[in-house]
């Protein structure tokens, strides 16, 4: 009879995800309040403090002043820090305009974040959100400029096209993984490059290119396919549009799928223990393709949000690095759809606020990237957070029942 270690210090490993991956992504069954809310919150706080230190001491003139006039230097430093964070905060939530901007930027982040989070829940590392966004966006673009339809049909059609485009681009690495074992990290990264250059090329093809232009700019999406703006009746510059509502509905749908449907049960089982899933009669091969297709569809929707929502057309690399920020915010959101919404709003706010900070102080928007990166470092090292803030470690397995014999 084989004897397992009597009392494991951490939960025993199961095949598939390493326990580090599980801890990092937060994928699994239950919401652990401490691990999934407190630690991310403290990670954000820590990152803001560390970012603050960088801002405070990031100015050469003030640093020189410390030698001659430390009092003045200290006050300059504090002012600089205060001005920066006030600008960041005001740019994110200081009024309707900033909130509109925050929501506009949050929408594609939430959708792409869902694409990564679904992968995490199923034990897959989807780094391909950027490529899936590009392809989904191009699908939506074609529907957007090619057909002339009433809005009530045109917008849903563009959305469906974005979903399909993303699902195809996500489904390919899923298929390769399921059938050949090719690791999705490699294939999704490569498909990002392929999508990026494919878009570059397509934008110079006559079918896509804006008439009379030599540079790679697409035709404009017809107004009937554009997501309507939500509050432009107050001020025409408030550009928040239908995309944020779509993003929140999508998050709700993914939550329902993961936690209330048989398909999501299968997704999570495959992620947590593929051998267990196979034993339970689940079709693991099909599931991996399905997971990646659903993930890709969400990213496609994010690409569609850019094309028929925010921009109205496609330009080279029109999704920027949203698909990579999505990895960070899926981690911050602990791979839970609602966590992703919260993290997406935060990152959207940081992006909008960062713009304002850059405009009104001499602190560049790059610091926002630094803060985002620091958040992820703190998330990836929960032991650090627990040590700093003396959060009681409860991720160690405690057996709630002891044996049988009494």
């Amino acid at each position: 009879m084989s004897d397992r270690p009597d009392l494991p210090e951490t939960p025993p490993e199961q095949p598939g995800m390493s326990s580090f991956f599980k801890d990092l992504t937060g994928a699994g069954s239950q919401i652990n309040w401490r691990a999934n809310v407190l630690v991310p919150a403290l990670a954000i706080l820590s990152a803001l403090i560390a970012g603050g230190i960088i801002i405070a001491f990031g100015d050469l003139d003030t640093l020189k002043l410390w030698g001659s006039d430390p009092g003045q230097a200290a006050s300059d430093t504090l002012n600089r820090l205060g001005d920066s964070y006030v600008a960041l905060f005001e740019g994110a939530v200081g009024g309707l305009g900033p909130i509109s901007e925050t929501l506009t930027r949050a929408a594609p982040l939430i959708l792409a974040g869902l694409a990564v989070a679904i992968g995490f829940q199923a034990g897959l590392f989807n780094i391909g959100a950027n490529g899936q966004m590009l392809i989904g966006g191009m699908f939506a673009l074609v529907v957007g400029f090619q057909f002339d339809l009433p809005t009530v049909i045109h917008i849903p059609l563009a959305i469906i096209a974005a979903l399909i485009g993303g699902a195809i681009w996500g489904g390919i690495p899923g298929f390769l993984r399921a059938k050949t074992g090719a690791h999705e990290v490699i294939t999704t990264i490569m498909l990002n490059f392929i999508a990026l250059r494919l878009v570059d090329y397509l934008l110079t093809v006559e079918f896509f290119q804006l008439e009379g232009r030599n540079d790679p700019v697409s035709k404009s999406v017809l107004d009937s396919a554009r997501y309507p703006k939500l509050i432009d009746f107050i001020n025409a510059r408030y550009r928040v549009h239908l995309g944020i509502i779509i993003a929140i509905l999508a998050a709700w749908f993914i939550w329902w799928l993961l936690y209330r449907s048989t398909i999501g049960f299968e997704f999570r089982a495959v992620g947590a223990n593929p051998d267990g899933a196979r034993y339970a009669g689940m079709n693991v091969v099909w599931l991996i393709v399905a997971v990646m297709a659903v993930a890709g569809a969400m990213a496609g929707l994010a690409g569609g949000d850019q094309v028929v929502g925010t921009l109205g057309r496609a330009t080279p690399g029109f999704v920027g690095v949203i698909g990579f920020d999505a990895i960070a915010l899926a981690l911050l959101g602990r791979s839970h759809p609602f966590g992703v919404v919260a993290a997406g709003l935060l990152f959207g706010g940081l992006a909008a606020g960062g713009q304002n900070m850059q405009a009104s102080t001499d602190v560049g928007i790059d610091i926002v990237q630094v803060i985002q990166a620091l958040i992820i470092v703190f998330i990836a090292a929960p032991a650090l957070i627990k040590a700093i803030y003396r959060v009681k470690a409860d991720t160690e397995a405690a057996q709630v029942s002891q044996g049988w014999a009494t």
Binding site: D3, R260, Y279, W404
Partner: protein, 504 residues
């Protein structure tokens, strides 16, 4: 050398794993540490070996307090450990494995002196009668020899106290005898031996002193010359236990499982199951005995749809189920208790409710279309927790938080909790405490008496003997003997398990 544990206490969050344990081991004696799973044996050994640090108490070597920060310190102090799961590099030779980490080198730049390593191995093998070829590749060696390599490894590091964690779990009865003679040699040479086990017979045979651990505390010491299996079992469990399974005679009915000429490949594409044929009838328990790794795993996987067979047929209740999917087999009212509950039987990060519906979630009443019915699932979970006496605060606790015995009960409850015609149970009580073993055995007999056909695969000979109405012995992928438990003995089955094919 004398090693003393004084007042060792180890706390995990919410659990007292070791409770003021006092133990002493001297050169030239064999101390058996007896206890159920979860009694705290492994925790104690890990403290002794520097893997965990004790919450309270101290370790003394030759009367002096020592502090171990890691296995390196323990090894330096003369403590060696042979783990249950061998820590060997399968593609390295015996000599390479033995010297790994403390390699002899020659010349500048520290070039590995493999001939020196080979000489060292040969020297130790001849000194302790541990014959093994220093140039053999580990993965080519049988388990018994791999264990020898582990012992040589420990001796090479000059261990004076050797700790063996469940050393006989993977050995045939004959290999166990050889292992015991090795242990006696080591003892004669003045080594101190700590032997961790829960097998009562072995303890009585080999021990000089017996310490019994229960709920983390030493509940008593016993003298092997006066103790009996029954008294030891009672000390272990803390109450009188029934060591035999109480069951009436079988009333076999029609054939439920019919296996003919089955061939199955293992992961290395070698034939692991070779022309196996047998029947299991309604109302009988058929036990498959054999040393682990003789094709039982592959056989069960083929029967349950987890592995494709390459020849032969499997029929269940008259219908062809050769290479059917796990889902199809599940739908044919087959219960499967898998060999490794944590690897495949459970999703540890899921709640008990989720685990209870793990293989039936796709159908009414637990789901409708693609919509899960969690309320109904929770009711079912609560029913099964009640009926199978799973010790848990609620159905919404993660499976990883349960003890091994309770985890196994979750699986047994899930698989037996519905109407089944065929039960396939692999190592049904592996790593489970004595109390749960009794319970699981009773449920298996109950399934039989309710008219199910039951197939048990176990490497635990006593379990096969106690449960089965018919015993099949598997060796090297073949069924080499069929016996009734009342007309055979452990010794005879042991011979078959070791490959003797002549009918006795």
């Amino acid at each position: 050398m004398e090693l003393e544990l004084r007042g060792i206490t180890k706390r995990f969050p919410g659990v007292l794993a070791n409770d003021n344990v006092n133990l002493t081991i001297r050169s030239g004696e064999i101390l058996c540490l007896l206890g159920e799973n979860g009694a705290g044996k492994s925790t104690l050994m890990n403290i002794m070996y520097g893997l965990y640090s004790a919450s309270e108490g101290e370790i003394l070597v030759n009367g002096e307090v020592v502090h171990f920060d890691g296995p390196g310190d323990a090894i330096a102090a003369g403590i060696g450990m042979v783990h249950q799961h061998f820590m060997l590099v399968p593609v390295f030779t015996v000599a390479e494995n033995v010297v790994l980490g403390v390699e002899p080198t020659k010349g500048p730049g520290g070039i590995l002196d493999i001939s020196e390593a080979r000489r060292d191995v040969t020297e130790i093998s001849s000194q302790y009668n541990l014959e093994v070829d220093p140039d053999a590749i580990i993965e080519d060696l049988p388990v018994g020899l791999q264990q020898r390599v582990e012992i040589i490894k420990v001796l090479f590091r000059d261990a004076e106290i050797l700790v063996f964690d469940e050393p006989t779990a993977v050995l045939t009865p004959q290999e166990v005898e050889e292992f015991f003679s090795i242990i006696r040699n080591l003892k004669a040479d003045g080594k101190g031996i700590i032997f961790i086990t829960h097998k009562l017979k072995e303890v009585l045979e080999i021990a000089d002193r017996i310490a019994v651990l229960r709920r983390g505390a030493v509940v008593g010491e016993a003298d092997p010359s006066t103790a009996t299996e029954k008294t030891l079992a009672e000390m272990m469990v803390g109450r009188p236990v029934v060591l035999t399974v109480d069951k009436g005679p079988a009333q076999p009915g029609e054939v439920v499982l019919e296996v003919r000429d089955l061939d199955v490949l293992n992961v290395h594409d070698h034939l692991a199951v070779n022309q196996v044929s047998f029947d299991v009838r309604k109302g009988e328990i058929v036990g498959i005995a054999g040393v682990q790794g003789n094709g039982q795993t592959e056989l069960v996987e083929a029967l349950t749809g987890l592995r494709e067979s390459v020849g032969g047929t499997v029929r269940i209740s008259g219908q062809d189920f050769t290479n059917a999917s796990p889902r199809q087999i599940h739908k044919a009212s087959v219960a499967h208790v898998p060999e490794d509950r944590q690897r495949s039987g459970l999703v540890l990060k899921f709640t008990l409710t989720e685990n209870f519906v793990l293989d039936s979630y796709y159908d009414e009443p637990f789901s409708h279309g693609i919509k899960m019915n969690w309320n109904r699932s929770r009711q079912e979970a609560e029913r099964l927790i009640e009926e199978f006496d799973v010790r848990t605060p609620s159905s919404e606790v993660m499976a990883s938080n349960l003890s091994g015995g309770n985890q196994q009960k979750v699986i047994v409850a899930r698989e037996f909790g519905r109407d089944v015609e065929l039960v396939i149970a692999s190592q049904p009580t592996r790593g489970v405490d004595v109390g749960s073993i009794e319970f699981i055995h009773d449920r298996i007999v109950e399934e039989r008496d309710n008219g199910s056909a039951v197939l048990i695969v176990s490497s635990e000979l006593d379990e096969v003997m106690a449960l089965s109405d018919r015993i099949l012995v598997m060796f090297a992928g073949r069924i080499v003997a069929e016996k009734r438990p009342e007309e055979t003995t452990n010794a005879e089955l042991g011979l078959y398990m070791a490959g003797s094919t002549s009918e006795a």
